[in-house]
Symmetry: C2
Subunit: 140 residues, 2 copies
């Protein structure tokens, strides 16, 4: 399918999210979702778009990333002050974070068990449980 109707997949995602299929959103959706899952920053996605000769401003990349996140198509991952990663894997999972180089790697949800944590305080509900395993280079 992918070769024959290259926009179908991206279009479906936008419709599912109730977002107008504009040229920019379609192009960004293709860049984001038509490949293996990954973690990307707004700057990186903008650079990819420019590279692919998609005309889109950085402001629109930010808008779109947030709209996709609100729609559940992306997940925002915060592990470093001053930089947001957007994760195309929205399933239940966790992360390895390499402090050395800032690299992020998924850990499947089944591979980690978070057991018996306290109940959410009154008036709140658990929106998500993030487990970040921070890795440092092994010492010699």
């Amino acid at each position: 399918m992918t070769g024959t109707r290259p926009f179908k997949h991206a279009l479906d995602r936008l419709q599912q999210a109730g977002l107008r299929p504009t040229r920019q959103r379609l192009a960004l959706a293709r860049l984001l979702f038509d490949k293996v899952d990954r973690h990307i920053t707004a700057e990186q996605l903008h650079a990819e778009a420019v590279d692919a000769e998609v005309q889109v401003s950085l402001a629109t990349v930010y808008n779109t990333l947030h709209q996709f996140t609100d729609a559940g198509l992306l997940r925002e991952v915060v592990v470093e002050a001053g930089r947001s990663y957007f994760d195309t894997n929205t399933s239940d999972h966790h992360h390895f974070f390499f402090e050395g180089n800032g690299n992020l790697q998924d850990i499947p949800g089944e591979s980690v068990t978070v057991a018996h944590f306290p109940a959410a305080p009154a008036g709140t509900r658990v929106a998500r449980v993030d487990v970040i395993i921070r890795l440092a280079p092994e010492e010699a």
Copy 2:
């Protein structure tokens, strides 16, 4: 003790960390450690210092927070893009994060069990495991 030798505690911490006891570091150490554990940003600490008529620049507050963190006197907590909290509780523990108001609350280490996660990739070691339980307002 605290009333009679108010700088002793802060001084001990600096010496333990191998940091010269300058006027600014002493004052910031007192503001940070001579009260109950909490989470504070650089701006907030600077405001407290100004309030307490401690003359210190924001740059020094940043320097000091990082030096204290490197020395293990503080722990940096990243839960929101673009803002760092410094936690005076350096023991093994986790956090509730209230997405509504940006509030952070400690969860004692014993209250959460993170079971059987994958081994650290070759060449790395686990520096820390962060569990962040994100809370949203309960819907009506």
